[in-house]
Amino acid sequence: MNTYFVVLLILFGGAIISFAINKVSYLLSGIVAFIATASATVFFYLNVDTDNFVQFSLAGFDFQWGLNSLSLLFTYIVLGLGTLATLYSIQYMRFKNNLGYFYFNFLLGIGSMMGILFSQDFISFFIFWEIMTWSSYLIVVYNGNKTHKIGIKYMIFSGIGAYAMLMSIVMIYADVKSFLIADYIDYISQVGLSGHYLQIILLIVGFGVKSALMPLHVWAPKAYANSPMGYTSLFSGALSKMGVYGLSIVLLSLLTNFNTGENVSLGGLFEGINAEFIRIIVQWLGAITAVMGTLYALKQNDAKKLLAYSSIAQLGYIITGLAIGTELAVMGALFLAVLHAIFKGALFMAMGAVERQAGTTDMTKISGLVRKMPFTFIVTLMSIIALAGIPPLGGFVGKWLLYEGMITSGHYFLVVLIFFSSTAAFLYCYRILFGIFLGQEEKETINVREAPISMLIPMLLLAILTMVFGTYPGLLFEPIANAMSYIGYNDVVWEMSTISNVWGDKVSLDYVSLTIFTVFIVAMIFLTIKNYKGTRYVTTKDISTSGEMPTENENLTFQLNFFQPFERAVAPLYKRSMDKIYNTIGESLDALFNFVRTIYTGNGQTYALYVIVFLVIMLIFKDSIFN
Amino acid sequence: MSNDLVLENEILNLIKSAFNAEGNVIKSRRVEVFVKKDQVSSVLLFAKEQRGYIHLSHSTCIDWIEEGEFELIYSILSPKDKIMLYVKTRIDRDNPVMENLDGIWHQLNTYEREMREMYGIEFPGLIGDKEFCLEDWDEIPPMRRDFDTVEFARKTFYQRPGREDAKDVRKTLTEQSGEKIPDFATKYSRE
């Protein structure tokens, strides 16, 4: 049997078994799900082979399944995060209902993502894409009635994406007479892009929806925030990366492998469009996504929603990097894609732990959990440092590559935009750490305990990974370099712990880590040993507030309108929101239909009037019409 | 301002006739009326709504221990006429209960809380903490004249030696200038 079939069989079979076994015991179906993903992972990586392609025909279509270096990179995200997320979900979902339904869709999601990565033809790609969309939709609406609207929104946008993609696939088949992705790439590189822009734009729309690109992102915040957190870590970490995977095929294989400077006039609507133009549009969309995602993230009071917006922003960086297309930028984007899966997975898991233990993630309601949930705090802290891109953790490497890629290739204003977004990201990074873990301890959360160990293990593993990749990014550069050489970049240079740009400037991460840890440890030894005996812990109520002592019921933590001055400073940017625009479109459509309905008054007299008016108009204009 | 006190007499006579109250014009722009306890709210409302006395300037209490009464004073001002109207009423000292009037002027709440704390006057329905300025006070209210503050201070606070020969400032002053202390000042004086 073939590896791909076995892996999918394990995952889909696991889905059915865990659905069935839920009747026996609620714990069992989670364990089955975990075993299924874990065994699929182990089996897959024992038998992984990038040159093994399977071809078969079904219903008159040719299918081809296989694995290339690019999709291999993404399997790390899907299977790695999937395994950890199922392990995490066992305890996280423990006291909830409908677990069979949940795990069925969960495994279906993982399986379909693997299917997407295996697919080398558009048809199976599309089928798995739809399975993925539907399974994720079913999980988005898992939490009951109030998620109904969110699910509809998600479905509408996924539908737009899916039909755009389907349309594009049909058009491609009409041109190429084959569904194989490789054939299409060959065809384009021979024929050139002219005449195929619509296909590519439609594909970008299709993938853009999943990767929450700017005008198509509105479904994401609520859908991320309202799914069960165990799934959201996968949703934001891996599922959105399918969009990135698709975009990397489109942007890197289709739009760069030949002369992008050609300027073929298409006439009409598409006049002046060339590959470079599309890529510039995508770059700027990505950058604007990053900025707006960040600005909206720092307004949120709910940690989950904050992270959801932050995911959108991070995906913006990745897409920008892909669209720029130089070696460094692509390397940075792919690095960030993996890193984002790691730290955002860990963050959503940590928020899930907080939600499970403390009952809510609303930052205005809880505070001061650091002493109650120290491990969750450490995980959050490390992931946040990685997210903010501060050395010596992994996020910095991706950011550095991205910036250097932009600067060395001349995208100066994009750098400033991205930099603005990433500096403003410090704000929400601090918000989430402060809002949940720091500040004064709430009376309500006095009995909160640390999350169970099976939830902590995946989180801690992910957090340690960010640290490892911060000092030894070479571990990740190897598969990325392979993926890039598959796409068509020759001689991708990488070193274990040094990153360098085309101008020859470099950052030695081992020196960085060495300096930081040495200085930190020396300072810690100095301060701790000098201070250890005399120092004692006092509660957060014991603060200098002009001699007043806050009582047990008073909480002085500053939580509401946290960044109000900043919001005031950037107020003009908040005026337009895509949500509002879509609402306006919806409302105006509604109004239009209402108006159309008013024509049909139900009164015979009015209809008679219409007929007369029509006749009069015909009489007046008969010359010009029938001439 | 004219000196014929037209406006002053007008408001005085109005209140006098409407509420059957006592009163007189103290001087230019100062009018006082004495009303019964249960008429206070009507007088204040009348003055506020009908005559434009929209500003509550102050409200306080005087302890007439000799007569066994507290006198409550509400000073209200008409910005138009520029007249300060003192509405005065007397309540029983042994059962000091007064109507809560902070519905008319919300800022009365503060004064009433102060009076409740300092004089022990009850205002039924008054919203606000029992403790206002003092903390943990369990003696009789300190502004009542039968509260002996010297004795209390001597009892509660450590007195540093060295000021036993300190004299009443008023005595020293009167000795120097040859004036006499008026009777009302000495009557309930501390010595």
């Binding site: 005399g534 004692r536 006092v538 014991d542 200098s544 002009s546 001699g547 007043e548 002592m549 | 300025c133 003092l134 903390e135 943990d136 369990d138 003696e139 300190p142 509260f147 503050t149 010297v150 209390f152 201070a153 509660t156 606070f157 450590y158 007195q159 540093r160 060295g162 000021r163 300190a166 501390r190």
Partner: protein, 183 residues
């Protein structure tokens, strides 16, 4: 100050420490009474206390000197004790004006304590009602000399005699709901 005599009795490190402490006094001004108005002229151009290394501190955690400027009601005394206990050793108190010494003109008030040193240890009293900025600076210099002599250790004394101070404090502050002081 007499360096030769000091060298016999105290370590050179202590000397340096005390020299630094003396020359760097972070003042937490607790403006309780009318005396607070004397602080601005003391700190600004006319009298310029910064010459002596005196500098304002915003919170008790950073402060060395607690400057109590005037009478203390029972209610404020509680806050002063709280602020004093939040300060870190070594810490000093400068009490300011007659009211802190013997109650001043409020000696017979029902609500004003009369002798501050019964409740918290006072290093230097500045006499006057109110003391002028010159007097305030004089007081600071007296404190500096005391620190250099090495006998300004009232923080330690407070800790040792905490029972006596607590007894006095609880006598006036009836509803005692303050955290323990044990550092």
């Amino acid at each position: 100050m007499n360096i030769v005599k000091d060298k016999k009795s105290q370590h050179i490190v202590d000397y340096i420490k005390e020299f630094a402490r003396k020359n760097s006094l972070f003042v937490m001004a607790y403006g309780t009474g009318c005396g607070a108005i004397e602080i601005p002229p003391t700190m600004t151009s006319r009298y310029d206390a910064e010459r002596f290394g005196i500098r304002g501190a915003a919170t008790p955690r950073q402060a060395d000197v607690l400057l109590i400027t005037g009478y203390l009601a029972v209610k404020t005394l509680k806050r002063v004790i709280r602020v004093y206990e939040q300060m870190q050793d070594p810490k000093y108190i400068i009490a300011f004006g007659s009211c802190t010494i013997n109650g001043g003109m409020y000696f017979d008030s029902y609500n004003t304590i009369n002798a501050l040193d019964r409740y918290v240890p006072v290093d230097v009293y500045i006499n006057g009602c109110m003391p002028r900025p010159e007097a305030v600076i004089e007081g600071f210099v007296a404190l500096q000399e005391k620190i250099q002599r090495g006998d300004a250790d009232n923080g330690k004394k407070y800790q040792e005699n905490i029972d006596w101070y607590r007894e006095n404090q609880m006598k006036v502050i009836k509803n005692w709901n303050m955290p323990d002081y044990n550092w």
